[in-house]
């Protein structure tokens, strides 16, 4: 039984890490801010969710489960809000996206 649970943990956490890797790639390579935000929140939501799901069998106490799930829910809330705020800051400027494409020297923080 425990070997099965360990296997589940390995698979779920690896999948989560894969989502983080893909999200990071998207953050670095996607053309405009909205697409980068999508990559980032996908990594946060799915990647962290899978990591938390994978870690659940490794925690013995129900308090630990609640803690892990709370971490995921809080991260969901924060990343959703931050994405909304960033998108709202970008969206009114219609020229911003083409500008970002013309200016590849600008980093991911621009």
């Amino acid at each position: 039984m425990s070997a099965l649970l360990d296997g589940f943990t390995v698979v779920a956490v690896s999948l989560g890490a894969l989502f983080f890797l893909a999200g990071t790639l998207g953050l670095l390579r996607f053309p405009d801010t909205l697409a980068r935000l999508h990559a980032l929140s996908a990594a946060d939501n799915l990647g962290l969710g899978l990591v938390v799901l994978g870690l659940l069998p490794q925690v013995a106490s129900p308090l630990g489960w609640i803690g892990l799930i709370a971490v995921w829910l809080l991260a969901l809330l924060a990343s959703g809000t931050v994405s909304q705020l960033l998108a709202g800051a970008v969206r009114p400027l219609d020229g911003a996206e083409t500008q970002a494409r013309d200016n590849p020297a600008e980093g991911p923080f621009s």
């Binding site: 709370a70 809330l77 959703g80």
Partner: protein
Amino acid sequence: MTISLVVDIGLALVVLSLALWIIAATTVYRAVIGFIVYGLLLAIVWVRLGAADVALTEAALGGGLTGLLLLGAAARLSHHECVPVFGRPAAGPVVGFRLLVGILCTLIAAGLAAVVLLLPEPAPSLASEVASNLPATGVGNPVTAVLLAYRAIDTLLEAVVLVPAMIGVWSLATDQGWSGRPGFLTPARRTSALTLLAQVLPPVGIVFGIHLFWIGADHPGGKFQAAVVLAAMWALVLLAGLREPPRVGSPPLRLAVVVGPLVFIGIGVSGIWLADAFLAYPAGYAKPMILAIEAVLTLSITVALVFLLAGPPAADRSADGRR
């Protein structure tokens, strides 16, 4: 090579290269964003070193709060900033100044490295004495015992210094703005997403802050970390525009800021009669006294941090139709 060593080396490389990136950043804003990430990475480093108390403080104060203060400063400086043309180094006194700062920082780093490398083996440590005297303080977390029993004077000065810092910020107010409300955290416009966050998160954050304060006696945590979390919740409500900050002239606000240091000093002075030394606790009462000091200090630090973030009081803008 074990896997944890690989992780540690990778972490060290990331921290070092991020530090280089911050120095090379072309605008103050980028450097500040890098600094916030740097604080969070340092927190992971402290966790790897087994210092959870320091990690919590670094993440909350070094990354979060200082980062927010620096972001505010960067926003105010952005009008005066001369952005160097990409690919061309900035000319004039800037280069000399940067060189000077770089040389001084290198000297400090070299000095620290020399001290660490020249430590005798085994390194001198008071850890065993702290551990053997821990029962006398009644608290289970050795860090809390050091901060509030063995080296209480340091903590006292640390808590008091926030009051002059706040006075320093307030003294930047204009004549019209004096005794008004601090305006820096007031939003330009309200957004629904931030409003939702400011309504959902504070109940969780307040419980978590009080939890951090309470477990500080026996586990990593304590008043400073708790105060940062509570201050963040208040700042979030202000940022979302759900509430206005109180006027800096309001007596309850001023009382809240000074009550922590006053209680600390009061208990410290009473120790002269009750326990034969300033800041000494009478035998058997150490734990309740430490808890009392931590509780009022949490309140005072929370208020002081929010008002450090909120900036100097500004002239009342409610007259000209703010929504």
